[in-house]
């Protein structure tokens, strides 16, 4: 019976090719638009580190008071607050972090230096963020306290400077000073890049150079992300570092709810202590947010992604309403044929099966065309979004499967009403009329 229905369906589709083609096109375009938008939304709203996102927390301490904030502490910390949290050692793992930019100076004096972007961190960062290593390992805790001249570099930088060889133990010239390479990271990704949302809205590379935090501060490496100074400060790097200027993120790994609660209490106590000592003149205003809460409060998903999803979703709905109308026209045009089939003994169920199958074949065709259009759509994302985001969106097997599935499912939903109408055709009426 199934084969017969397929045959009937195909014959019917061939009977008015324009109408069929129109339906296939409408489904394909609707599905492709929404799948492309969904793909962008997905990469911008995803969990960057699913295995640990509920255990990684960023701390915020309000050091400017109610005058300078609308209740929400600012995104960064001062050096002194970050160091106080580091020295308290209240978390399983912890790291202060700020973005840096350095110049890689080649041995050949006639070649121009090249830029490298990265982060000043402590050694805990690597296991905290699950950073994979190609060669070597993170620096030691002693390197952190001794502000050693060591670096971990990314694979891309290692390829550029050392031709991809194991560079552990070799020297690299950063801004005119030699640093010893202790490790080379394998390519890794966190999207969005939760630990630095300030550069390119949190999308883009993970950086290719990681330096001990204390070394970066000692060398006066300016924060490459941003800084904010709402209190008077004196000129010079040392004064800047010791001022109320904020530029550092502080991340803590807290494995369970109890430790997170305890840490929140610790932040509160720390802030209260600052109030007691006269530095703050307001009650403690602190936050401890895990990765997903942090991405949410920082509005990481670009408005264009949300707007695209909304508009293309509405687009798909309109396409489906259209398909309902076209299927209705197509099915009802065959009322006489349905009448004859029913008169010859076909049950309502048989009519259902026949027409749903016909719709499914339209949906499948729409889905296949939709896959091609979605692939084309993903290539055009660069026109709307920053390359940092566009580079993340690819046609993938799951996206392909989803496209076909959505096309099929939505066509079947759309076909339900026309099919119901077709099954309601009165055999007697049709026989009489023809």
């Amino acid at each position: 019976m199934f084969g017969y229905y397929v045959q009937l369906g195909l014959r019917s589709l061939r009977r008015n090719p324009v109408l069929t083609l129109l339906m296939v096109l409408v489904i394909a375009v609707g599905v492709a638009a929404s799948m492309t938008s969904y793909a962008v939304f997905r990469v911008t709203s995803g969990d960057p580190i699913p295995e640990k996102s509920s255990q990684l927390f960023v701390a915020q301490i309000d050091n400017y008071g109610p005058d300078n904030s609308d209740g929400e502490p600012l995104w960064w910390l001062t050096w002194r607050d970050a160091m106080a949290l580091v020295n308290a050692h209240k978390a399983k793992r912890q790291t202060p972090l700020y973005p840096i930019g350095v110049s890689i100076v080649p041995d050949d004096p006639n070649t121009m230096a090249s830029p490298a972007r990265g982060y000043a961190v402590q050694t805990d960062m690597f296991p905290m963020f699950n950073v994979p290593f190609l060669f070597g390992a993170p620096w030691s805790a002693t390197d952190d306290t001794d502000s050693a001249r060591v670096v971990v570099i990314g694979k891309s930088l290692n390829d550029r400077v050392f031709g991809g060889a194991n560079s552990v133990g070799r020297e690299i010239d950063l801004d005119g000073t030699n640093f010893r390479v202790v490790g080379v990271t394998a390519p890794w990704e966190a999207r969005p890049r939760f630990f630095d949302l300030d550069s390119k809205g949190g999308f883009g590379d993970m950086g290719e150079i990681y330096m001990p935090f204390a070394r970066a501060i000692a060398d006066g490496l300016h924060p490459a992300g941003g800084n904010l100074c709402n209190r008077p400060f004196k000129p010079g790097w040392d004064n800047f570092v010791h001022s109320e200027c904020i530029f550092i993120s502080f991340w803590a790994e807290l494995p369970d709810a109890a430790s997170a609660t305890a840490y929140r209490q610790f932040l509160n106590d720390y802030s209260a202590e600052q109030t007691r000592s006269g530095r703050f003149s307001w009650p403690p205003n602190v936050r401890l947010r895990n990765v997903m809460d942090w991405l949410d409060v920082r509005h990481v998903v670009p408005p264009e992604a949300k707007m695209g999803l909304l508009v293309s979703g509405a687009f798909l709905v309109i396409c489906l309403i259209n398909v309902i109308g076209l299927l209705l026209a197509k099915f009802m045009r065959r009322a006489p044929e349905i009448g004859i089939r029913r008169a010859l003994g076909a049950s309502r169920g048989a009519i259902y099966a026949q027409f749903l199958l016909e719709a499914a074949s339209v949906g499948l065709a729409g889905g296949l065309l939709g896959v091609i259009l979605t692939a084309a759509g993903t290539l055009c994302i660069g026109a709307v979004f920053d390359p940092a985001i566009a580079n993340l969106v690819h046609m993938s097997l799951p996206l392909l499967g989803l496209t076909v599935l959505v096309a099929l499912a939505s066509t079947l939903v759309a076909a339900f009403y026309p099919t119901w109408r077709a099954s309601k055709v009165q055999p007697a009426w049709q026989l009489k009329a023809s």
Binding site: V29, T111, M112, F233, G236, F240, G325, A329, V384
Partner: protein, 411 residues
């Protein structure tokens, strides 16, 4: 006067199709109105005037590899070389330029202890006395900086300076009476020194490109301080017609002077037109995407109307034949279908207007969009009614050609 009552009576026999068309018109209207509105806003944003001689300007992103103490002399040498380079009209080193994407912003007050800010974040351009000439910005009143007024911005120092030049927007806001020249404002924190306004320029855009900064897009201040960071931008004005050649000769000349520097690839050396392209990339992209969706949506809706109306025409051939046999002209049949579609579309459009405002209300909340202007809704309604009439024209003409003899054929 078209025969409304029989049309409405007949509609009862194909409620489903009529509802589907009306629904489609309603949703299309809601989406198209809002999309057009967003498009218009984005286009307005990206056509804002920077106030500078864009077509003759280029920028170089330069980082010196040198100890901090050597940076000022390297900067001076580079700038002197650039100014002497054939084809260069003028040049200067700075921290930022219009449309860069972000820079140093500072609160501006009339009194350093006050809680009231004239601007929450005016953008600061650290420049020398060549900047205005390079940018092609005219002093509207007052004067340019003198060479001896150019100081040095120590690393991590505050940004106040005894003399400054501001935009008219900022001057007006600080001193609504129109007498800003010679008055002082305070840049930065409570310890700021007074900065006296010695010049006012008509208009210069800030480096900020985020939409959240749009309310401050003209809050720019020129501060006569040389930056001492390792990183600086060279802004270079080409002599007429020499820009294409300079895009190559400038980086070569800089490298020849010293290769102990970084000029990143790509985007290290850009004509200003490229700066503009990059700054408004997502605005332009979104406008194109929405325009594409609008057009497709209208086509899809039209196709749906054509499809369903054709079906109705086919279904009603006999009735049409009877009407023709009873004396209806071809024109009557045509008017019948046009009116029918008009009524359905109008009903859809009414629902669509409500939906459009609901969608707008939600977007205002979610995307800080502004209130949808009724002009767009009106245009949207007109577009959709017209589209419906156009779409229905071909099936209606086919209907009008049904011969009266059809009435007798199948009975």
């Amino acid at each position: 006067m078209p025969p409304f009552r029989p049309i409405l009576a007949a509609l009862r026999y194909h409620k489903a199709g009529a509802v589907l068309i009306a629904l489609q018109v309603a949703l299309t209207l809601a989406v198209v109105c809002n999309a057009l509105f967003v498009i218009e806003q984005r286009l307005q944003r990206l056509s804002r005037d920077t106030g500078i001689a864009e077509s003759e300007l280029m920028v170089v992103n330069n980082t010196w590899v040198a100890p901090a103490a050597e940076v000022p002399s390297r900067q001076a040498a580079d700038v002197a070389m650039l100014r002497a380079l054939p084809g260069v009209a003028d040049a200067y080193a700075t921290n930022a330029f219009p449309l860069l994407g972000g820079s140093w912003q500072s609160g501006i007050r009339l009194d350093p202890m006050s809680k009231h800010f004239i601007s929450d974040g005016a953008s600061l351009y650290f420049v020398d006395d060549h900047a205005l000439h390079t940018l092609g910005v005219k002093i509207a009143s007052g004067r340019n900086f003198r060479p001896e007024e150019i100081g040095a911005l120590a690393p991590n120092a505050s940004a106040d300076s005894p003399t400054i030049i501001v935009t008219r927007t900022l001057a007006q806001r600080a001193f609504p009476d129109g007498h800003a020249l010679g008055k002082a404002i305070y840049i930065g924190n409570s310890d700021a020194r007074p900065s006296t306004i010695i010049g006012i320029v008509d208009h210069v855009q800030t480096p900020e490109t985020r939409s959240g900064e749009d309310i401050r897009w003209q809050d720019a201040i020129f501060v006569p301080l040389r930056i001492t960071d390792n990183r600086a931008f060279f802004v270079i004005r080409a002599q007429p017609g020499r820009l294409p050649a300079l895009l190559h000769s400038v980086p070569d000349a800089l490298k020849a002077l010293s290769s102990r520097r970084v000029i990143p690839q790509p985007h290290g050396v850009m004509p200003f037109t490229q700066v503009r392209d990059l700054a408004y990339r997502s605005d332009r992209g979104l406008a194109w995407m929405l325009a594409g969706i609008c057009v497709t949506l209208l086509v899809v809706t039209a196709a749906g109307i054509v499809g369903l109306t054709s079906f109705w025409v086919g279904q009603r051939r006999r009735q049409i034949g009877i009407r023709r046999a009873l004396g209806a002209t071809r024109g009557d049949i045509l008017v019948y279908f046009l009116t029918e579609n008009g009524l359905i579309s109008l009903a859809g459009a009414l629902v669509g207007v409500v939906l459009a405002f609901v969608l707008n209300a939600w977007m205002m909340q979610a995307f800080e969009a502004s209130r949808l202007s009724t002009l767009y809704v009106g245009c949207g309604v007109l577009i959709l009614l017209l589209l419906g009439q156009l779409a229905v024209l071909s099936p209606a003409r086919r209907a009008s050609r049904v011969p009266p003899v059809e009435a007798t054929r199948t009975i």
